[in-house]
């Protein structure tokens, strides 16, 4: 069901693929919770993580996901590798390819880097974040979390607040949410948000209250403190007071709204500590779901590499859902 060799972005995925990943993640989540069920179904697979940019949760999440499935996963350790001797991305990829890598997981500061790697190697490439372009696995775990809480995507109002222009998380989420039928509003200071976002389907506003009004899902984004030096907003104090999300603002959302954040959070800046640790927050749940979604993705990619089309036959409980039912459940 995964159409392409690689997972480069949500933009080029269709809703069936996304739903299948979420569906599989549901089963995987049980396996995290119940140790006896952690089958070593990926024991013949070798996976390399290739992180040109820092990461805690994405890298750990992928690593544990791979280990729970029994795969061999190694980290290139970009800072101690030949990359430091000036080896190009393509050469590094080809080298790892020759060593028999099945899946490469790459994070890079430049948009499209995963695409460049993917077209130069035989291994499947998973984009773990490229520049300001996409972060597909983060979006998938966000979608999974929303599904768990809301059971439906159709006509949900999802608002994303903060530095939208530099956020691959926002972009991947917009692509995914639109494909599944949700309405997306993005809000932030006009220097950190582009009117062009409307062409990818999001409604753009600089009015935070209007954005949050009657929202089902409120997603805050990390504000990178170095943006201030680039002249994109005057200072942290002003940002917090004008664009930070707090308890007062959350009152404009629906009563059962959930609060999300991809992490790491600047406590007290984009979100107040009160709401991070409040009842509406699902931020910790997102982290657990991240492992489940990545297990699902690794599994589905490995099945595609084996050329096994009918992967659902492995799990009867999945097969019991017909596609129609899934569409009903997720898209409404």
């Amino acid at each position: 069901m995964i159409t392409n060799k690689d997972i480069l972005g949500i933009r080029n995925m269709n809703s069936d693929e996304i739903l299948q990943i979420l569906e599989t993640a549901e089963i995987m989540k049980k396996r995290i919770e119940n140790k006896e069920q952690r089958e070593k179904i990926l024991k013949d697979f070798s996976i390399v993580t290739l992180f040109y940019e820092n990461s805690t949760r994405t890298k750990m999440s992928f690593t544990l996901a791979a280990k729970y499935l029994g795969a061999n996963i190694v980290d290139l350790g970009v800072s101690t590798s030949s990359v430091n001797k000036g080896e190009s991305l393509v050469d590094t990829g080809v080298t790892l390819d020759q060593m028999g890598t099945d899946i490469m997981i790459i994070r890079h500061s430049m948009s499209g880097a995963a695409n460049v790697l993917a077209r130069n190697v035989n291994a499947s490439v998973i984009n773990a974040g490229d520049g300001v372009n996409e972060h597909p696995t983060q979006a998938l775990l966000d979608l999974f979390t929303i599904y768990e809480k809301k059971k439906n995507f159709k006509d949900l109002k999802v608002v994303i607040i903060g530095d939208i222009t530099h956020s691959r998380v926002a972009r991947s989420n917009i692509f995914g949410l639109k494909k599944l039928g949700a309405n997306v509003v993005v809000a932030g200071p006009s220097t950190l948000i582009s009117k062009n976002m409307e062409c990818i389907g999001a409604k753009v506003t600089t009015d935070i209250k209007e954005a949050i009004y009657k929202a089902d899902v409120v997603m805050g984004l990390r504000i990178q403190l170095e943006r201030q030096k680039g002249g994109l907003f005057p200072d942290i104090r002003e940002y917090r007071q004008m664009f930070g999300i707090n308890k007062e603002l959350m009152k404009y959302a629906k009563e059962d709204a959930i609060l999300m954040h991809p992490g790491p959070v600047n406590r007290g800046i984009e979100l107040s500590t009160e709401i991070i640790d409040g009842d509406q927050s699902v931020i910790n749940e997102q982290v657990k779901n991240g492992v489940a979604v990545r297990m699902a993705l690794l599994y589905l990619l490995s099945e595609r590499r084996k050329g096994n089309e009918d992967i659902n036959s492995k799990w009867k409980n999945v097969r019991s859902y017909t596609k129609d039912k899934w569409n009903k459940r997720y898209i409404g």
């Binding site: 190009s88 499209g112 460049v116 130069n120 372009n133 062009n196 976002m197 062409c199």
Partner: protein, 422 residues
Amino acid sequence: MLDPIQKINGIKDILVEDGIIKEVKEKIKVKADEVIDARGLWVTPGLIDVHVHLREPGYEYKETIKTGSRAAAKGGFTTICCMPNTNPVIDNEILVEYVKMKAEKEALVNVLPIGSITKGQKGEELSNIGKMAEAGICAISEDGKSVMNAGLLKKAMKYASMFNIPVFSHCEDPTLVGGGVMNAGEMAERVGMKGISSDSEEVIVARDIILGRSTGVKLHICHISTKGSVQLVREAKLRGEKVSAEVCPHHFSLTDEAVEGYDANTKMNPPLRSAEDVESLKKGLKDNTIEIIATDHAPHHIDEKNCEYDRAAFGIVGLETALSLSITHLVEENILTPMQLIEKMSTNPARLLGIDKGTLRIGKIADITIIDPNEEYEVNVNDFESKSKNSPFHGVKVKGKVKYTIVGGEIVFKNGEFIDKY
């Protein structure tokens, strides 16, 4: 035969003797060493490209004067102007002499060097503009960037006007470009890359037009790519100012949609723009706001292109595709008549440079291009004579092919083969 200057558009015989056009009339009866039957073909004044990067000295792994001139000959160009952003930068007469000497020895076509505006293109001190003018540069340019110090540029313009050489202006304000790598707009939003806004080009176009007006220099705006730039040039021309502008074939053949897929062969500066900009460029060509088509032939090694888009070099090769793309997108689409196309690729460039070319008048040097406007083919970068293959047009079907390139009466390229004197 097509000659905009003599307003000839018809069947003629042309007699070339000792490198000079000896006679042009209906029927010439004379025993010649070689007779070319050009029935059904266009016989035009040799094409002139005012904007080429030959990369020599300094970047011979990308291109050399020899390989670049072969690419030019194959593309129908008999004269090319080479930009000074080499290493070292062409900023004094000794380097101009070096390029001329290499061209004399190795080039298949006429090569006219362009000198830099400031020493080392650092934007601090004027280059030896006068000495370079004596040595034979055809223009000065800081191509690759703008002289950001407006006061210095104004002095350069004043100084250059003393030698009657034009200033070729690359228009780009780096503070507005930021780290952009493609056109700012919806497509950049879709593919998640930093955009280069139109205003980064337009503010400098406006500034340079104003400075051109106050200094009276012959100002030429390189590779304009936006609707706003076309409008600025149009208005300046309406005011009667001495300004000309060029457009590159890729800017009217492709839009930023081509960037999808992150192939760095779609990365150049200025970037591929929106469909609206492309329409404006075509309109500007049609109403003669844009009077010159130039390639901005910018060869880069494959290692500088098969990499992350952000890291890849800006620029694509163009000498071997320019004519075909122009015929395909301008003549076939009735934007330009064949005569107007030749005007923009030969007559007008010659006028800008102030050189005695761009016509097939009797007594002129026999630089001639013979073109089959109907031959269709598929662009294959592996067939390029250029050392570099960085073109987004690989595999694209185009119309119009160069059959003969004749430089100073010598056939240098004939039906796909080089008549190589080296």
